[in-house]
Symmetry: C2
Subunit: 118 residues, 2 copies
Amino acid sequence: MAIDVGFKCVHHSKVKLQSMEEPGAQGIKVRWLINKEDGAPNFAMRLFELQSKGHSPLHSHDWEHEVFVLEGTCQVTCDGEKREAKAGYVVFIPPNSKHQFVNKGASTLKFLCLVPLH
Amino acid sequence: MAIDVGFKCVHHSKVKLQSMEEPGAQGIKVRWLINKEDGAPNFAMRLFELQSKGHSPLHSHDWEHEVFVLEGTCQVTCDGEKREAKAGYVVFIPPNSKHQFVNKGASTLKFLCLVPLH
């Protein structure tokens, strides 16, 4: 894929919405807002959209998540602890913790989730 | 400062709002939502709040910014190019580009701005 390392300034809705087919994921789509192809050297910004009852896989990995909830109601599980996060909440998932995001509301849940680029 | 590397899930308003006294900055405050002290190994999430006509310094540095606008109207300058970014816009400022964020609206401008940790 071509690399465009320039200035980017665009509404998130202009970035392609892709299905997430990973095992354990349901009713979840993602926009890769800032990625390697934009010239990002260190970390990527994604925007996730979960339909009601949609969820990410319950899993762990050796990198962190930095999350900001934009719309909706999210149940976040991290190493067995469950918390509710609404619009304006910030969530840090440390590396190697078992975590999951579930849309517990009736409307679409939208959150940013940033990850390091390896 | 103590390091707490655990799960964090909190509304952004609970994180301390600090003045930004950097030369060239005006009417701008910041909340460090996720930082080294939270155990972040790679990058930090900050939330900036600019009053009307407030602005960041016009400057450059060798690291990138990954930005998401939450509220208000932002004029973003990057290497002489000026763009308008409203709520829902994503902005990538490449390393070593001369950039500035200005609140062109009447209401408070709020945006997330993430940076690598060195």
